[in-house]
Symmetry: C2
Subunit: 111 residues, 2 copies
């Protein structure tokens, strides 16, 4: 399985071959988290509709919720104007953050 | 002017000294754009409340709307759980995208 050539040609990957991915809750608009995708992660996300990222720390694909059960069902994927970021509109099961909060930004007010 | 040491110590910058920044419209929750910030951009954003980014292509600070007038007034800044991304809750004047669309994702539906 590979990413459609038309889409692959529009991606502007960073030096590690990744694009940025923002996950947003459908309906509420909450920004849940930001992670990274390589081509395979994006292809799997589009075909399985389960958000799949590339873990930079572990150096491997990571299906969101594969251990926690806190999966993301993907309704929409949008690529931004310069091709280096995707926006996922998802239904989040449980907390999105590994700390147990709904989003990864809940405890982070700095200004 | 410099970033408060407590905040500076929480940032996990990439190899270029940058953190990812997601701008979201207050109220509607629209994800408007994703850009990058160095410490100075974050400090200016917090102190002036005008969203200020670091342009990777131009290699300099960039006050959003400095030429277009399409500024972002910043209501909240939140740092994520691992310190490498900030979420800005803003009031966007005019279109956020240089292409003239409201957000940088409007024309990018890929799945």
């Amino acid at each position: 399985m590979a990413l459609a050539p038309e889409l692959a040609g529009r991606l502007r990957r960073n030096a590690d071959g990744l694009v940025c991915a923002v996950a947003q809750q459908r309906g509420t608009g909450e920004v849940l988290m930001v992670a990274w995708m390589n081509d395979e992660a994006l292809d799997l996300t589009l075909t399985t509709r389960r958000a799949t990222y590339f873990s930079r720390s572990r150096g491997r694909l990571w299906v969101k919720g594969e251990t926690s059960g806190h999966t993301q069902h993907v309704h929409e994927v949008r690529l931004d104007c310069d091709g280096d970021t995707v926006l996922l509109v998802v239904d989040q099961t449980g907390p999105a953050c590994h700390t147990g909060t709904r989003t990864c930004f809940d405890d982070g007010l700095v200004g």
